[in-house]
Symmetry: C2
Subunit: 411 residues, 2 copies
C-alpha cells in the first residue's frame, strides 16, 4: 500500500544530511513484510553514548516498547535496531522472544551487551514477527553501516509515509560546535496496522542521561506530544535521543545550565520540525493547522482544549472544505470538559478576530478569513479570557484521502 | 442541504403514532432559515404535567439550554417550542432576549406563565435568531395544534436528518394502561452549524418530577448518552420527558417503586430505540456498530473504553471498509487511558473470539468474522479480564459521506 500513495501536497524536501561523530548507520531489505525495499535499519553508537527516550502512553504497548523502556533504565546505548512492516504488538510470549532474539543478534555484531541495544518496530499488529529474518540479515547489515547512512535510514523506517523525514541543526555548547540530526516516520499519528510515530535524534554533544532526558521530555511536550492526525495513539510510538560525546564540549550537569541555552533551542526546533513533518504527511492531509489557546486556567487545560479542537472531526472537515466555520470551534471548546466561559471566549482565524466576549464581532467581514482558509497552513487562536494558561498544537485536515487509506481492507 | 441528502441505508419506517392524552402539538413554516418547510414546532400540555430533562454538558451551551434548565428548576411544563435552522448559540445578549421573546409569545397563546415554557433550538451557531418571526407565527401555530400532530412535529425538528424519528410504547402502572411516545432528531451526534440531538417524550402517566427525573437520567445513560456519531458534543443537546397525568394511575412516589417496573423498561427501550435511530441516521453512516466492554475495573471505566473504541477514526474507517481489523481495537483500548492489561485482554467480533489473553487465538479462522463485517450491524466485544465493570455503546462507521456532508462550505 505504502508505495501506491501519492506524495503529500505538504511534503518537504530532505535537507542535506551530515555525519554525526560517533554514529554509524544503514539499512537492508530483510523481507519482513515489504518486498524489494529496505525494512531493517540499524544505528551503532560510540562507547560512552548517553540516551533519553519518550514512549507511548498506551496501556497496550508493543514488546519493543517494553524492551526499550528497560534498556533506557540501564542508561547506555550502543545500538538501535528498527524494523518496518510488523509492529510486534499483541504477540504475547512470542513477541517478547522476538525482541530477545533481535537484541542478541545486534549485540553480537555490535560487540556490546544486549541491554545496550534499543529496539523499535512499526507495522501490522497481532502477527508474529519472524525475528530469525532479522538475525539472519544482521551481519550483512552491520557490514554496510557508515557515517553517511542517514537518508537510507530515514527511508527504511517509512510505512505509509509519502516522504522521508529528517532535520538537522548546528549549535554550540560553550565554545564547542555541536551537531544535532534526526529522522522520523509517521503518517497517521497512528494507524496501527501500518503506521506509527518514531523519531531518532543523535548529537555529538557530551551530556549525562538525566540532562538529556530532561531536555527531550520538555522538547517533546511542545512537539511530538503536541501534534495529532486522528487522535488515535499508537501502541509503538517512541522518540530516542542519543548523545555520543564525540564533540568534546565542557561538562554540563544540569538541563538548566546557561551553556545549554542554544542547544536547548536547537533541539526544540529540530523536534518540532520533525513532528510537523509527521503532520504534513498525515494520512490524506491537504492542510496543516495550528491551534493556539491562551487565557486558560492552566497550560495543561489549554493543551486539552487545543487538542479537543485539533481532534474534532467537524473542525477538521471544515478546514478541508476551506470553511471558516468558527461555530465548530465553539463546540469543541465546549465539549473539552475544561474550564471555559462562553461569555469571555474569543476566536481568531488567520489573525482576524471573529468573535469576542461570547459573540460575533460587530460588522465581522469574512473576506480575509476566507482568503486565509484557502492556504496550506491555517492558524486558529482561541482566548478563553480566564487566566494565563496557554498551549499550541498542530493537526491536519480530514479528507476523503483518510477514508481511502484507512477504509480499505488490509492486503 | 438537508433536502439534498439521500435517505440513510439504515433508516427505519415511522411507527403508527397515537395521541397521548393531555398533549396537543403541531408545526408551521416560520421561515427561520429553511424555505417552504415547517421549522417551528409546538407542544402544549395539560395543567398538572410534570417534567424531567437532561442537557448537553457543553461548557458553551446555547441560550435555549440555559432557559430550559431554569424552567426545569420550576418543575412545571405547559408548553414546548422548538425551532430548526438556527441554534441560537454564541449569540450573547441578543440570544437571551430571543429566548425571552419566544417564551413570552408561547405563554400568551398557551395561557400559562413564561417559566412553564420549554425551549429548544437547532441549526447554525453564531447567527442572531430572529425571534419576531417566531412570535409572529405563534398564534397560527397554536390554532393548528391537535392530538394527532406527532408526525408533523417529528418532521419539523429535522435538520440534516434523512428520516423522521419516533417511537411508541404501551405499558402499565399497576392496573392502568399507559402510553409513552417520543420523537427525536439528530444525525451528527453533533454538527453545530446544522444538527443537534434533541429528544421529546410524552406520557399520560401521573408521576412526580423527582421520579420522572430519576427515570429519565438513568434511561439516558444507557441510550442517548451511550451513542456517538463523531465524538463532537453539541452545544444544544436536550432530552425532555413530559408526564401529563391524564391516565389516572395510582400515585407513585419513588423511581424504585415495583409498580414502575414495566414503565421503566418501556421508557428505557423507547429511549434506546430513539437514540439508535440517531446513530442510524449518523452523517454518512453505512453501518451501525455496538461495543460491549466487560471485565473492566468499573462501569464508568468500561464506558470510557467502549467510547474510545466507538470514537476511534481508525476503528470507524475499518468498519466502513468491512475490515475485521482487531489491531485497531487493541490500539483504542490502549489509548483510552483506562486500566487495561494487554495480557488479559480478549476481543470478539460478531461473537467470534479473535484474541484471548493478549494474543490471537490458536488457528484463528477469519471466515465467520469477514462474513459478519459485511452486514449492516456489527457487534464488537472486549473483555478486559480485570473485574466486573461493563458497558455498551453504539456508534456508526466513518465514510466518504461524512466528509461530503461536513467538508462543504456552509451555504
Amino acid at each position: 500500500m505504502a508505495e501506491a500513495l501519492p506524495r503529500s501536497p505538504l511534503a518537504q524536501p530532505l535537507p542535506t544530511l551530515v555525519p554525526v561523530a560517533g554514529v554509524r548507520l544503514g539499512a537492508i531489505a530483510a523481507q519482513i513484510r515489504y518486498k524489494d525495499r529496505p525494512d531493517l535499519m540499524m544505528m551503532t553508537f560510540a562507547p560512552e553514548t548517553t540516551v533519553a527516550g519518550v514512549f507511548t502512553r498506551s496501556k497496550c504497548p508493543g514488546a519493543p516498547i517494553d524492551w526499550s523502556r528497560a534498556a533506557l533504565a540501564q542508561g547506555k546505548a550502543r545500538a538501535l535496531v528498527v524494523n518496518s512492516g510488523n509492529a510486534n504488538v499483541f504477540t504475547g510470549r512470542a513477541g517478547i522472544l522476538a525482541t530477545q532474539i533481535t537484541a542478541a543478534s545486534a549485540a553480537r555484531v555490535a560487540q556490546c551487551a544486549a541491554t545496550d541495544v534499543f529496539l523499535a518496530s512499526t507495522g501490522v499488529i497481532g502477527e508474529p514477527l519472524d525475528a530469525e529474518r532479522i538475525s539472519a540479515a544482521m551481519p550483512a547489515l552491520h557490514d554496510r553501516l557508515s557515517a553517511d547512512g542517514w537518508e537510507d535510514a530515514a527511508r527504511a523506517i517509512m510505512t505509509t509515509d509519502t516522504f522521508p523525514k529528517a532535520a538537522i541543526r548546528k549549535t554550540r555548547i560553550g565554545d564547542t560546535e555541536i551537531t544535532l540530526q534526526g529522522i522520523a516516520k509517521g503518517s497517521g499519528m497512528i494507524a496501527p496496522d501500518m503506521a506509527t510515530m518514531l523519531g531518532f535524534v543523535a548529537t555529538d554533544a557530551s551530556l549525562p542521561n538525566e540532562v538529556l532526558q530532561s531536555l527531550l521530555s520538555r522538547g517533546c511536550n511542545r512537539s511530538f506530544n503536541a501534534i495529532t492526525v486522528d487522535s488515535d495513539m499508537s501502541t509503538s510510538d517512541m522518540v530516542l535521543l542519543f548523545a555520543t560525546g564525540q564533540a568534546g564540549n565542557t561538562p554540563v550537569t544540569s538541563a538548566e545550565d546557561p551553556a545549554l541555552a542554544a542547544f536547548r533551542e536547537a533541539l526544540d526546533s529540530l523536534l518540532l520540525e520533525l513532528a510537523l513533518m509527521v503532520v504534513r504527511d498525515g494520512e490524506g492531509a491537504s492542510k496543516l493547522f495550528s491551534v493556539r489557546v491562551t487565557g486558560a486556567v492552566s497550560d495543561d487545560s489549554a493543551k486539552r482544549i487545543a487538542l479537543a479542537i485539533g481532534n474534532s472531526p467537524l473542525v477538521k472537515t471544515a478546514i478541508a472544505g476551506e470553511d471558516a466555520n468558527w461555530g465548530r470551534i465553539v463546540m469543541a471548546v465546549g465539549k473539552s470538559g475544561e474550564a471555559a466561559n462562553r461569555d469571555t471566549l474569543s476566536i481568531a482565524i488567520g489573525g482576524t478576530w471573529i468573535a469576542r466576549q461570547g459573540t460575533v464581532v460587530d460588522g465581522y467581514d469574512e473576506t480575509p478569513v476566507v482568503a486565509h482558509m484557502k492556504g496550506d497552513e491555517i492558524d486558529i487562536m482561541v482566548d478563553l479570557g480566564l487566566a494565563n494558561g496557554h498551549a499550541r498544537i498542530w493537526s491536519c485536515d480530514l479528507t476523503h484521502g483518510y477514508i481511502d487509506i484507512n477504509g480499505s481492507y488490509r492486503s
